[in-house]
Symmetry: D2
Subunit: 378 residues, 4 copies
Amino acid sequence: MGMVGGGSDAFIGAIHRLAALMDNQIELVCGCFSSDPDISLSSGRSYFLPENRIYKTYREMFEKETRLPAGERMDFISIVTPNVVHFDPARMALENGFHVVIDKPITFTLEEALELKNLIKKTGLTLALTHTYSGYPAVKEARERVQRGDFGKIRRIYAEYPQGWLSSKLEDTGNPQASWRTDPKRSGKAGSMGDIGTHAFHLTEYISGLKATELCAELNVFVPGRLLDDDGAALVRFNNGARGVIMATQVAAGEENAIKIRIYGDKGGLEWTQAEPNTLWLKWTDRPVEMVRTGHPYMGPAAKHNTRTPAGHPEGYLEAFANIYRNFSLTVRARLDGQEPLPLWLDFPTVDDGIRGMQFIDAVVKAGYADAPKWVKF
Amino acid sequence: MGMVGGGSDAFIGAIHRLAALMDNQIELVCGCFSSDPDISLSSGRSYFLPENRIYKTYREMFEKETRLPAGERMDFISIVTPNVVHFDPARMALENGFHVVIDKPITFTLEEALELKNLIKKTGLTLALTHTYSGYPAVKEARERVQRGDFGKIRRIYAEYPQGWLSSKLEDTGNPQASWRTDPKRSGKAGSMGDIGTHAFHLTEYISGLKATELCAELNVFVPGRLLDDDGAALVRFNNGARGVIMATQVAAGEENAIKIRIYGDKGGLEWTQAEPNTLWLKWTDRPVEMVRTGHPYMGPAAKHNTRTPAGHPEGYLEAFANIYRNFSLTVRARLDGQEPLPLWLDFPTVDDGIRGMQFIDAVVKAGYADAPKWVKF
Amino acid sequence: MGMVGGGSDAFIGAIHRLAALMDNQIELVCGCFSSDPDISLSSGRSYFLPENRIYKTYREMFEKETRLPAGERMDFISIVTPNVVHFDPARMALENGFHVVIDKPITFTLEEALELKNLIKKTGLTLALTHTYSGYPAVKEARERVQRGDFGKIRRIYAEYPQGWLSSKLEDTGNPQASWRTDPKRSGKAGSMGDIGTHAFHLTEYISGLKATELCAELNVFVPGRLLDDDGAALVRFNNGARGVIMATQVAAGEENAIKIRIYGDKGGLEWTQAEPNTLWLKWTDRPVEMVRTGHPYMGPAAKHNTRTPAGHPEGYLEAFANIYRNFSLTVRARLDGQEPLPLWLDFPTVDDGIRGMQFIDAVVKAGYADAPKWVKF
Amino acid sequence: MGMVGGGSDAFIGAIHRLAALMDNQIELVCGCFSSDPDISLSSGRSYFLPENRIYKTYREMFEKETRLPAGERMDFISIVTPNVVHFDPARMALENGFHVVIDKPITFTLEEALELKNLIKKTGLTLALTHTYSGYPAVKEARERVQRGDFGKIRRIYAEYPQGWLSSKLEDTGNPQASWRTDPKRSGKAGSMGDIGTHAFHLTEYISGLKATELCAELNVFVPGRLLDDDGAALVRFNNGARGVIMATQVAAGEENAIKIRIYGDKGGLEWTQAEPNTLWLKWTDRPVEMVRTGHPYMGPAAKHNTRTPAGHPEGYLEAFANIYRNFSLTVRARLDGQEPLPLWLDFPTVDDGIRGMQFIDAVVKAGYADAPKWVKF
């Protein structure tokens, strides 16, 4: 694995490394860790890399890595830069024969996402998008149970993602996370909806197996002087007639990272919340609520494949993240070995999920600021 | 207290009696407990009433009670019939000098509610509307803390009320609760939004002290053959610029009665859910979440006045209900004695809350079925 | 109902009245509400009693009530005084033909409790002991499920009752509750173990259907100058070989009233905690934990009989208390009518539970201060 | 890092690798992964080790590694074998100049533990004991707050560790975890008390900073035919006069791994449970309960140093485990570099905690089967 971004001053880069390395399947071999060459160098050193594999630009990285012998050069890159710097390194990676892991939202614009899709089609390479929350085993269990019909026909979906960390104008205090996320030039056309609304939206389609077809939304900018939405809510229609509400906010003062989803069919419902990620609640019309927990023999194959500890030994965010890396690396390894990956390994978000995310962003922004509310198809 | 409705076959009538009687401040002295005179009679007997105070019609009740001497006749009536039979007994009560407790929604139409308001103005009598959930002491504490500014300027409100009991066509099985609630001729123009959406809406205004000004909504009928909404969601705008989402559904299969509200200002937020009614969560941007609990000396005067047990001795739905009756009866007693009720006693929902509820119903129905979504003012 | 104790300055008396009156089955007709005649009088007036039914002493009450005609005089008395004043009014009531409700622990000494048992045998009268926590419907459901064998052979019981209100020397501040409870002359030979340990102990036998046979304990006095235990823990052996731990403390600073019980058999286990009284957790070795909730059709007959609201409308401490009064009054009424009470009505704590409580106190005190620990049979 | 044990058929070995590798500070370079050379070989290969670093015996490993050049040979070993095979490889490692990570309980007997202590004293090498639960940041926060006096003088400690996985005779089904843990020849003189009771005991001393001085206990064997305790409870006295209860059971059918600790002083108390590991509850006599959460700026230095994700991104068991490895490796690296480790790095369990654990086992076994109960000093 090589990295683009993820210097020692960056939050999400450290998360990616932890997630990639924990299973002893992936090695960090090179990287361009910052647009500032000094930071890239010092970061790379602190990751125990030899200096000749620490690059000043990602362009240089692709050039030099391509020339290394097959067993030695990186197999894939992980892109953990602000949204505006997603597309170019991804494109170069694919054009140079490297697989790609990329943070969400996949690109700065929908057009870029579609172009990546074309490149993947052309090259046959593999791309994983780190929608972390669908990496949780309990979420995979939810999906399995919904899609095999345990809850009957799905009618109602509530997905919410309240955060509070942008309740004040944090971007003016030098906080780098806040700074680029609230800047339309680096983040894109959406703020909260791009940063976290896409996660909530992804869960609705991932678990339900449905497709959203149109939405009506209101986006808000609560903190004065901010240029992008820091809050919003959308009414969503799904292709089977189900109805959803997607709520995302970064000004719910005092909330941490409380992504939660509830789905109801005509026979029962489910609830999952990231604050208690190893638990899945099943609700029934005629019998007691069940508390399904990861690590038990009664769990389905997807949950089991994505669990590392026995019941009662909580797993968390890093393990969910690591599930994406592990499934991606199992898939890439199989393909490098000329074999067909197992279906369980292919269970990670791809460019198609990235495109759905960009379509959601486009739709929610179009609907969210309209003079009169309207249903926007997507 | 005399009752209209509340025969031994009715759910909500029993609740009203428990709530009214527990504090030893109110006595059940008469009633017309059913439109079926036999049920009225047998019900009245089972409540230990003398036969001459068990009436065949509420008309008869008003006639005969009016003629009784002041110390003997009922002071007020409690109306616990289906919505379509709210207005007429309420009107007659007011016209005959009796105070009124009435179940929500206050009337069948907004016009009736406005007429009740006129009658109350004219007669100076007292009307209490049983929006039970604002009777909880923790909700009153929430209100006190929001309105004194603990959370700063309010920005975001989420109110939800998921139930699952109407997930199937229960009204076809002879269930009387389901039967009238899903019948537009007895329930009014809204189903879930009238029955439970009004409760959620009431909490938003009660706690925040704000007024909703317009909403955009979608109402749904999920169970085939049903005539009224059994589900819906609304985006709501408040008069200070705050934004709300109100969700109410009776087809969230497996949910009980999970009304919940969250309110966020620029300094912090709060969360209250009826499933754990003695707890109020306070959330802060810079310090730990606080779990405020009823019965503690640190609670404010409204919470204290409406709590009967020390901390750790849970109170529930009946006590919340009883708070409305107790405050109403303290108010009526003071007025009967020619005294000014204490402000704490006046803290029960009135005809004005009833009117707001009917306006909410009108607006959400108007918005909820529109061809194109729109903002409906109310 | 007549009352002994329960003046307007007393906590538990108010609870008894709420519990007795809410179901419209019991009327407060007389009482001696305080050893101070003025307080008794003013209390009685505030309860709307005629002055001739407000008594100066309980002796006077028994004398005068006995002379009233049958339909008019009280049917039973409720004794809500400090422990030292339990036995005498109970004895006089039984000797004068009145049924008795009495707060726990039943008496000041075991000998008194045994004498009450003799009197009950002799008179055929009914006595209810207000071990409130076994009045909760979820506790009754637990009992039903344990005793029909759902969890297999019971092995392990944990019962705990942590409170924090006596963490400091509250008795020196004039708090009347603290004052008599920490005074061996009014409370008896045990402090925390008598006041709350007996509740925890009662739950173990009530739910499991087992009998404790011996215990080994340590009692502690943590607050300097206090004369009775404010904390303790006991290892307990049951008659089927099961083992228990009973923990009770009133110096767990910050705890409210957190009584909780867990019972495990060879097939599964259960957990109930009063902080969330409408929920019973069922735990299994081979399938998900189940959350059983009061008010659902799937509940057993005992839970149903003792529930007043539908699922999702929380009941609390007062309703649990009221269940004792209701079952007691149904039983007394049946017996007054010369009929056999239904088994469901007989489900309230009796003099036998009172004796078990006194035996527990004797044993735990004997074991708890021993120089060397020992197993004390009881 | 070299490993003793941890073949691909072992549970805890995989956990150790995940924990050791995730921070990119430790590399697995060699190992003897099983007493079966074939399993050792296939395991080592699956961990991407060269064949010459996969050993048949740990004796061979020490011989060969010692001869490798300094930069190449392993720096420390991780011992993850059944208890009976702890001492010998630990002794050999220390005698050959390798640091040691060892699973708990540290050895088979107390004598062995004391001998390891001598060896460490003599060699100056570093030993870490994997009492995972004190690796959680919320536990470290608890410790910091207790020891700086937030809760006043500590009076009461409850530590419990209920598991249910040994409710039936799992050791007869070929389950390797159950098999050695219930075998006195491989596990030692205690079953549940050694396996999990030591964890609970460790938390009491780690958080409180107190020393237990004596205990009175009962140990039970509930599953017929089992040779070691599968359940037990102990009353414990601490050196400041505080009293504790330690409960450990592996037959609480339906429980997962529910270790929990509560500590109360005269000013307040705390609660932590591994099922919700990122939360620490603070309880106060005069103000609301506080929910302290990892990842917030308000946390103390120890919690911060041991947290990898921002608030709301749950960490779990593997991260707690990794904290031990990270602090150990930071300490070892500093010592290898001739520097003094920071105090924060030294915060991992050592041989002294191992000795305390063995003393606890000795005491609880001595007390737990006595004919008459007694206080056993330790």
